[in-house]
Amino acid sequence: MFHRESGFYKTSYAADFALYPLPIARWSVIGFAILFFAIVPLLVPSYYLTMLNLVGIAIVGALGLNILLGLTGQISIGHAAFMSVGAYTAANLATRLDLPFYITLPAGGLMAAAVGIIVGFPSVRIKGLYLAISTLAAQFIIDWIIIHTPAISGGASASIQVPRPWLFGIQLDTQVELYMFILCVVTIAIVGALNLARSRIGRAFIAIRDQDIAAEIIGIDVRRYKLMAFAISSFYAGVAGVLYTYYSGVANNEFFPLLISIDYLAMVIIGGMGSVLGAIFGATFVTLLPIVIDLVMSYIGPFFMGDSSGLSGIKSHLRLVVFGGLIMFFLVVEPEGLNRLWLNIRNYFRVWPFSY
C-alpha cells in the first residue's frame, strides 16, 4: 500500500491482479490490522471512537455505491433507501423473532439486495439521466411504503427500538465493543470489494461502465451483470443500514433521507470513483467534515457573530456549502478524487530522493 518498486516490472496478468504486489504490502496490511484491531481500541478515548464507528458504517455504504457507480457506471440516487430497507428488516427480525445479529445482518443485506434488483430493473433498458431519476423515484416510493405500512415501521412514529447485538453472552453496548463489531464487518466488506474488483464479475462491471454495447458484443450478459451490480451495491447498503441501526439502537427512516443518498454519492466522487481506497478516503472525509466544520466554527465563529443561536444555523448551512462546493471542485478539477491526490504523493516518493 505504501511502498512501491521504482518502476513497473510486472510480466504476467497474475502479477498485475495480485492483492499484495510487493512483500512490503503484506507487512503494511499487517501493520494496519494491528493498529486498528489492537492499538486504537486500547488507546483512543470513546468520544473519538464514536466518530470512527460512524466512519466505519459510511465506509461499508460507500464501498457498495462505489461498486455501482465507480465500477459499473450506473448512477443511483436512492442509496439511503436501501439502507433503510436493511435497517427495518434487521429491526423487525431482531425485535419480533429475537434473532442474533449474525442472522439479521446478512438478512438485512439480502432484503436490500432483493429490493435493489427491483429498483435496478429499469437499468436494463435505460441509463444516464433516466436511470438517475428512476432511482430517485425509488427513494421516494420506498420511503413512503416504509412510513405508511405499520407492519414494517411499527407504528406512527416509524421508529423501532433495537437491542444492541449479543455475542457469546456479552452485549456489545460500549463504544469499544461496538467499534470491534463494526470494524470486523468493515474488514470483510473491504476484502470483499477488493476481490470483487479483480474477479471475472468485476472485470465485466468495468467493461459495462466503459462501453456497454461493446461489452455485450464480447459476450458479457449486460442485463445480468447490471442487476448483479445493483444487488451487490444494495447488499452493502443494507448491511450499512443494519450497522447504523445497531449502532444507534433504533431503526428510523429519518436517518436515511434523500440527503444521505447525496452524501454517499459525494463520498464516492470526492474519494475517487472506481477505487476501494478512494471509497474509504471519501467516507472518512465526508463523515468527518461536519465535525471539523463544527469544531472550527465554534472556535472562530464568535469573532464574526455574537449570539450562538445564529451560529448553529450557520453551521448547518455551511456544511451544505462546503459539501456542494467540494463536489463541484473535485468533479471539475480532479475527477479522480482524493485517491488521485494520494497516488500523486506516492508516485513522488517512489523514486525519492532521486528524480529519475
Partner: protein
C-alpha cells in the same frame, strides 16, 4: 350522477392542471438547458428557490418594490447562470452524464446552503399583487395565483415555441442542441448559444420563483418544487417543449386526483383491510410512479427524441 360529484371532479382536475402548468414552467428551465447544452440540471428547483428568496428578502427587509426586486433578481440570475456555465459546466463538456448530474447535485446543495446563510432561513411571504380570495366559477373554486401562474406559463410557452421554431437565434439553438460540432462547422458560435440558453433558464427561474413563492411562501422548501420537474420532463420527453406542457398538466392532474380521491380512500376501513397503509401523502410520489410506468413503455417520453446508439 349527482351534480356535486361532477363539480368536485372538475374542480380537482382544473386546479390540478393549473398547478401542473406552473410545474411545467419550472421544468421549462430544465428543458431549455438540456435541449441546447446537453447538461442535466438537478439544481433547477434551487434556482427557483434562490430567486424567490432574493425577491422576498429584498422586498421585505429593504422595502424595495417587488417589481424592482424582481428585475434585480433577474439581472443577478442571468449573470450567475452565465458565470456558472463558464466555471463549472464548460470544463465538463464531453464528460460522462453521471459526472454532470453529480456536479449539479453539488450545485444544488451549495445553493441550498449559501442563500439561507445570507438571507436567513425564516419563511417569508411574497406578494406580487394577486388577490388571495378564491375566484368562483359555477361551483368551482379557483386559486387566483394558480390561474395567473398558469396564464403566465402558457404565454411563456407560446413565446418560446415561437422563438425555437421561427427566430434565427432559436433555429441556431436547435442546431446546437442537435450536434455541437456540425453547428460549429456551419459557423454558429456554440459557446455564445450556451450562454444564451443558461440566461434564458435564469429568466424562467425568476419567473418560477415569483409565482411559486407567492403561491406557497418562500423558504428552503421552495426547492422541493424542483423535484416535480423530473416526472414532468420524463413524461413529456426531455427535448420537447410541447411535452413539457403535457407532462406538467398530467403531473398536476394526477397529483390533484391523488389528493382528492386516493388519499381519502386510503383511510377507509375496507381499503385498510386489504392494504394496511396509514395516512395519505400519495401526491408526493404518484407522479413518480406514473413516470416509472411510462419509462417502461416509452423510454423517451411522450414527445422525446428516440435516440439510436452507435459504438
Amino acid at each position: 350522477m349527482d351534480m356535486f360529484v361532477v363539480w368536485y371532479f372538475l374542480e380537482s382536475t382544473i386546479n390540478g392542471a393549473l398547478i401542473g402548468l406552473m410545474y411545467a414552467l419550472v421544468a421549462l428551465g430544465f428543458v431549455l438547458i438540456y435541449k441546447s447544452t446537453d447538461a442535466i440540471n438537478f439544481a433547477q428547483g434551487q434556482f427557483v428557490m434562490i430567486s424567490g428568496m432574493m425577491v422576498a428578502a429584498l422586498a421585505a427587509d429593504y422595502s424595495i418594490p417587488v417589481f424592482i426586486a424582481a428585475i434585480m433578481a433577474l439581472v443577478f440570475m442571468v449573470l450567475f447562470n452565465v458565470a456558472l456555465e463558464r466555471v463549472v459546466l464548460r470544463p465538463m463538456i464531453g464528460r460522462p452524464v453521471v459526472a454532470i448530474i453529480m456536479a449539479t447535485i453539488g450545485l444544488a446543495a451549495f445553493l441550498e446552503g449559501v442563500f439561507p446563510m445570507f438571507f436567513g432561513s425564516a419563511t417569508r411571504s411574497l406578494d406580487i399583487g394577486v388577490p388571495n380570495d378564491p375566484w368562483i366559477i359555477g361551483q368551482i373554486y379557483l386559486t387566483p395565483i394558480n390561474v395567473v401562474g398558469a396564464l403566465v406559463a402558457i404565454a411563456f410557452f407560446a413565446g418560446f415555441g415561437w422563438f425555437f421554431m421561427k427566430s434565427r437565434k432559436g433555429v441556431a439553438l436547435r442546431a446546437v442542441a442537435d450536434n455541437h460540432q456540425v453547428s460549429m462547422a456551419m459557423g454558429i458560435n456554440v459557446e455564445r448559444y450556451f450562454v444564451l440558453a443558461w440566461s434564458m433558464a435564469g429568466v424562467v427561474a425568476v419567473l418560477g420563483g415569483l409565482l411559486w413563492g407567492s403561491a406557497i411562501g418562500v423558504d428552503n422548501t421552495l426547492a422541493v418544487v424542483g423535484l416535480k420537474v423530473f416526472p414532468v420532463v420524463i413524461l413529456g420527453g426531455l427535448e420537447s417543449i410541447k411535452g413539457c406542457v403535457v407532462g406538467g398538466i398530467i403531473v398536476g392532474v394526477v397529483e390533484a386526483w391523488g389528493g382528492t380521491y386516493i388519499d381519502p380512500a386510503m383511510t377507509q376501513e375496507w381499503f385498510r383491510e386489504f392494504f394496511p397503509f396509514e395516512g395519505g401523502g400519495t401526491k408526493d410520489f404518484l407522479p413518480y410512479l406514473l413516470m416509472i410506468a411510462v419509462l417502461f413503455f416509452r423510454p423517451y417520453g411522450l414527445f422525446g427524441k428516440v435516440q439510436i446508439e452507435r459504438v
